[in-house]
């Protein structure tokens, strides 16, 4: 039932490497599901002063850290490279300069130690973060929400992805950051917005972009503009809207659209499991609402713990384990692909 019959060898040991944005991470995962280590070095403190991630600076940090983080991951897992069966690395999408460091480190490692190499899609990784929590069963629907992505992905079996809908403009995390900046919150704004939303009332009616009746696509740029206009008009009238009210109203609109569209897709495709993926899956408002709705409908659901929502290499190793069993290996010519597609 829902199992596609693929078995991952319990002893399979995969080293994962992830450098697609501003986190340098390495991890060892056994049997596709057991995290032996997951070392994440965040550069966020370094980028804060610029109000966002600066690609060149991210790349510089990655090259300084990469071997140290890999060594740390092996040490914490209490294994050596000789115990590792393959090296899995994020090949895209992401910042090209940042990706290049991980990809070239993985290739060097694979060549020096004679290990197979696996190129993993970053979003596949985010989805597989759930496999580290609970065994994935199919068909499943994944709501992928992050700073760069907003997608509904349908999976009928391991390693196969069909995108039902995606954002036509801003990713949901991007919309959060932009609205946060408008009301003067520090970078990264998402967590601050989430916190404020819980302290305020969603008393302002903000638009919901439903698009065409049968569409599973998203659009958040109109919502963002509407927030800016609302603030501007209030100011003209000499009124001040508390930032908690803005945050709560914005979040209500976002969650309403995300959850409604997700549930419509669940019904249409008769999926039996819903999984959340991506950095915005850390949003408390979204987690609470999705859990509530799934419980009402008796739908199986997985949400990764916070540490597995944000970028990390364990999720890359998990997705890489499935590719290993399917024999999907990369060769020496593996390259960083900033615009890599999920449906291959």
């Amino acid at each position: 039932m829902g199992d596609d019959g693929m078995k991952i060898n319990e002893e399979l040991m995969i080293l994962g490497i992830e450098t697609s944005c501003d986190e340098t991470s390495a991890s060892v995962v056994r049997g596709g599901r057991e995290i032996l280590s997951n070392v994440v070095s965040s550069q966020i403190e370094s980028h804060k002063r610029f109000g966002g991630v600066v690609p060149e600076i991210a790349s510089r940090h990655h090259v300084e850290q990469v071997t140290y983080i890999i060594e740390q991951a092996l040490r914490e897992a209490e294994v050596t490279m000789d115990d590792v069966d393959a090296v899995a690395v994020t090949e895209g999408p992401g910042l090209v300069g940042a990706l290049l460091v991980g990809v070239n480190a993985a290739k060097a490692l694979a060549f020096a130690k004679g290990k197979p190499l696996i190129g993993v899609h970053h979003i596949a990784g985010h989805i597989y973060a759930n496999h580290l929590v609970e065994e994935l069963t199919f068909p499943l629907l994944s709501l992928v929400v992050s700073g760069g992505h907003t997608e509904l992905v349908l999976m009928d079996e391991h390693g196969k992805y069909e995108i039902l809908g995606e954002t036509r403009d801003d990713a949901v995390g991007e919309a959060y950051d932009k609205v946060a900046r408008t009301i003067g919150l520090p970078y990264p704004g998402g967590p601050h917005m989430d916190r404020l939303a819980h302290e305020g009332e969603a008393s302002i009616e903000l638009p919901r972009a439903w698009l065409e009746a049968d569409s599973f696509d998203f659009s958040f740029s109109g919502l963002k503009s509407s927030v800016i206009t609302t603030l501007h008009n209030a100011k003209q009238r000499g009124e001040e809207i508390p930032e908690e009210t803005i945050a709560a109203s914005f979040q209500a609109s976002v969650i309403d659209v995300l959850v409604t569209k997700t549930m419509r897709a669940v019904e249409k495709h008769g999926v039996e499991r819903l999984v959340l993926a991506g950095g915005v899956a850390a949003n408390k408002g979204l987690r609470a609402r999705i859990s509530e709705v799934c419980e009402e409908r008796g739908l199986k659901m997985t949400i990764p713990p916070l540490a597995l929502c944000t970028d990390n290499a364990a999720m890359i190793a998990a997705a890489g384990s499935v590719m290993y069993e399917k024999g999907q290996f990369a060769d020496d010519r593996l390259n960083a692909q900033p615009g890599l597609e999920l449906e291959r």
Partner: protein, 228 residues
Amino acid sequence: MNVLAIDTSTYVMGVAVLRDGQVAGEMVTHVKKNHSIRLMPAIRMVMEEADMKPEELDRIAVAEGPGSYTGVRIGVTTGKTMAWALGIPVVGVSSLEALAANGRYFDGLISPFIDARRGQVFTGLYRSRGGEVERVDEDRLILHEEWVTYVREKEEPVLFLSPDLLKHKELVGADAAINPADHLGRPSAIAFAGMKKEPGEAVHLFAPNYLRMAEAESKWLEAQKERE
């Protein structure tokens, strides 16, 4: 000593293998193609042709910059990760020093340079002694015109070497090397220079020598100064 040398700091891609301190294999291309795709296959090919197994290597030498930020990072990441995996030292060699080695039989000053856009170059000053080049003046980022004036004021014969010669021909004129091949650094020069260096720091600390701050950082520093 068995050495693998890597250079991806400009459009020139170089890989060399030394066995017992002798060149066993060397490959140089000068094309506008992707280093990230081509470097690993090139390393595999040169190593295989030279019958060198990774675990036979004693050391890895890498062109540490200056040059293209991304290019340098590809070489440095590959070199340091291989070195770490194999438990051997990695040493950085200036990409300018490697290029200067092409003037090793020139009697006078040697000025290698790499285009750095907006009229600037990464450059330095070297001199040959007994067939080996040594640094006379630190590698730097400078307006090319200013640099050429400075070098000519020394009133000594000077040899300019650069993979970007075509773009800068007017300024250096007849003082550029005549043979086009001399304008491309050889990876074997990186291997030999790397062999003589003391591998000081830990592999983990090995990083590119960009010779220039990231633009966002220098702008940020400027803004801080204005605020004070």
